[in-house]
């Protein structure tokens, strides 16, 4: 893969901030919830970037901003070298073929009154592609996601969760996109089916050269599919780097805690496991994030510097880390 080094990213976002305006009952003015702040990320063709974090960290908002379902309040989104940050609906339309999204819940994302044939025909119809072309493509899509040809006549409720997710993936692939945003694509599925879908996604990537943004809260799933991993906490990326760097020598105390919190079966198999770190407290209210480093309220390393100054995302060995006291060991001052 020596071409990868010189390859231009298919997607490039710089200093993205996305906010929501919410009106709380009784309040005169709308408050602003900054869901994503100052995020920079790029994805190359054929690459999988994993985005992990807990609920409310902004990972789904970031996914929706990337494909311009949401408009960022600051920063730029470039797709294939073109700045699309402020593209109108009309301008986005041709680009929609290029970037597609697959959601968590295949029960909610498929129209229950449509047969699979209609579901798969929709993208072609919307983009004004002739029935003849669609008619040829649809059976191919089914075989891509390994569903039997007779599925076309059936309704979503006749399928299991895993099969429905295959239909949703087939629909996303209909217009031959180059980027797929996968938002928790396997978290609603049973364990044995999860592995099937993860393998299918990997096969499709090899076959079609797709780029993936893989959003999930489950680090072990992200670790299985990603080339690079970005960890988010309260709207910011706190660590980003190659898969092995982030998983084998995490530098940010949040990444270290997240990895150690995964119930790992290796202990029961008699292998050595890492120390388990239990974070205290809950995620702070995103409407009122802590000053300085946002993680400091749950951090074992924090000191006054962390209260006063927000740490920038800076290079540490192979990764980028936003911490005043980065390190694989539990180093730095304790409060």
């Amino acid at each position: 893969m020596n071409t990868a080094a010189v390859q231009k990213p298919i997607l490039d976002i710089r200093d993205i901030t996305t906010s929501y305006h919410i009106r709380r009952s009784g309040a005169q003015k709308a408050t602003t919830l900054v869901a994503v702040e100052d995020v920079t990320l790029s994805i190359k063709p054929g690459e999988t970037v994993g985005l992990v974090g807990e609920s409310g960290c902004g990972k789904s908002t970031l996914g929706r901003t990337i494909i311009r379902l949401l408009e960022p309040s600051a920063g730029t989104v470039s797709f294939a070298g073109q700045d699309i940050t402020h593209f109108s609906h009309q301008q986005m339309r041709p680009l929609r073929q290029e970037m597609q999204i697959v959601f968590q819940d295949p029960y909610a994302s498929l129209n229950p009154r449509f047969r699979v044939r209609q579901i798969l025909y929709e993208p072609f119809r919307i983009h004004g592609i002739s029935k003849a072309v669609a008619g040829q493509k649809i059976p191919e899509l089914l075989s891509l996601v390994q569903l039997p040809p007779d599925s076309l006549r059936r309704f979503p409720h006749e399928f299991s969760g895993g099969q429905r997710q295959r239909i949703a993936i087939a629909r996303a692939l209909a217009l031959e996109p180059s980027l797929l945003v996968l938002d928790e694509p396997v978290s609603a599925l049973d364990v044995s089916i999860q592995a099937q879908i993860l393998n299918l996604l990997e096969d499709l990537q090899t076959e079609l050269g797709l780029a993936y943004l893989f959003i999930a809260h489950d680090l072990s799933v992200v670790g299985q599919v990603s080339d690079r991993v970005a960890v988010m906490y309260l709207g910011r990326i706190v660590e980003e780097g190659p898969r092995d760097a982030v998983f084998n020598s995490p530098q940010h105390p949040y990444t270290i805690a997240l990895l150690s919190a995964i119930p790992d079966i290796s202990a029961a198999q008699g292998q050595q496991t890492r120390e388990r770190i239990i974070l205290t407290g809950d995620l702070p209210n995103p409407l009122d994030p802590p000053s300085g480093c946002r993680f400091r309220t749950r951090c074992r390393r924090g000191d006054q510097l962390c209260v006063d100054q927000e740490p920038p995302l800076a290079p540490v060995s192979d990764s980028l880390v936003a911490c005043h006291y980065p390190g694989a060991e539990d180093s730095g001052p304790r409060s």
Partner: protein
């Protein structure tokens, strides 16, 4: 030999629907000793929740129907008991924590009030202030910060993890002998899951209660249980101590499940995946219900005609498969 706290013998449960009959639990037997933690693992529809709910008289009848078996709790069969008799056992001797704390807590009653009610129901003679004191102690025990203040708050003022801890506090209120937790951490974030698991462990230590943990998450079971039961299509397919199940699994389904979990320590080139779909419970395959998805037995006629019985594999280790020897060598072949 110790007399088990709970012995379930040959339990069968079915649901009679207008157009079909679902045999949700088929001849399930297991036992649980005092202070022991048993994990019940399976995918959706495997019968793990129905097994436990029917022991507690919590399945809707009709359409549910217990067609056979016994559930001896301290020697007394729970299955024939009246609703009233069961109610006094539930919450007192046996208590339960469910997946979604928001639907199990009453949203319009303060958490402390709900705790006090749990205490009062089983101990009406005690004074109000004593119940309050004990309630605050319980919130403290499950690690809720500022328990006096939190006692007077409503469930919506709690975070998800705190609500689940409040549920555990309520479940432990009357020092039950058995705590049943059904997917207690599934709705929670990873770091909060870890907190709740620690809370469960602490509560268990504190009261010496035995527990049953129902989950689809093998990783979770490996951290908290002493023994584990693996269920498939309403049957136990394998049972054993944690070390045996995770290091020497003998049933192809258990082996497949373990092989399909992504590992965080090393990236596998490709995950093993069990082919096919979980069975339609109204239409379970004949013979071994796992045979259509099985990498070992699959095509063999005995697997298609005869349902294998649980057989001893070692000390307290059982598996229901016609070809456990081959399953073990298939596993060894995969590992190399």
């Amino acid at each position: 030999m110790q007399v088990p706290l709970l012995t379930v013998e040959n339990l069968s449960v079915r649901f009679k629907m207008p157009d079909q009959v679902i045999n949700a639990v088929n001849g399930v037997s297991f036992s649980l000793n005092t202070g022991e933690t048993l994990g019940i693992v399976g995918e959706s529809g495997s019968g793990k929740t129905v097994t436990v709910l029917s022991i507690l008289g919590l399945i809707p009848k009709p359409p549910g129907e217990i067609t056979g078996g016994k559930a001896l709790f301290e020697g007394q069969d729970l299955l024939p008991l009246s609703t009233e008799a069961l109610r006094s056992i539930r919450g007192q001797e046996i208590s339960m924590v469910f997946q979604d704390p928001m639907t199990s807590l009453n949203p319009v009653i303060k958490v402390g009030e709900q705790l006090r009610e749990a205490l009062w129901t089983h101990n009406p003679s005690e004074s109000r202030s004593n119940h309050r004191r004990r309630g605050i102690e319980l919130l403290d025990m499950v690690g809720i910060p500022q328990p006096e203040r939190r006692y007077n708050q409503f469930p919506h003022e709690y975070s998800g993890g705190m609500r689940q801890r409040a549920m555990i506090a309520m479940a432990m209120a009357n020092r039950p002998k058995l705590l049943i937790a059904d997917e207690p951490t599934t709705a929670l974030d990873v770091t909060i899951q870890a907190q709740v698991i620690e809370t469960l462990k602490a509560a268990r230590r504190e009261t010496g209660a035995a527990s049953i943990l129902i989950t689809h998450d093998l990783g979770l079971v490996s951290q908290i249980a002493d023994r584990v039961i693996v269920m498939y299509a309403g049957r136990i397919v394998e049972e054993g101590r944690i070390g045996d199940i995770f290091s020497r699994p003998r049933h192809p389904y258990t082996i497949g499940l373990l092989a399909s979990i992504p590992s965080i320590t090393q990236r596998r080139t490709k995950l093993y995946s069990i082919p096919g779909q979980p069975p339609d419970m109204a239409n379970v395959p004949p013979g071994c219900p796992f045979h259509p998805r099985c990498a070992v037995g699959g095509e063999r006629s005995v697997c298609r005609s005869d349902s294998p019985r649980l057989a001893e594999m070692g000390t307290r280790h059982q598996a229901a498969c016609h070809f456990t020897e081959e399953a073990a060598s298939w596993l060894a072949g995969r590992a190399t």
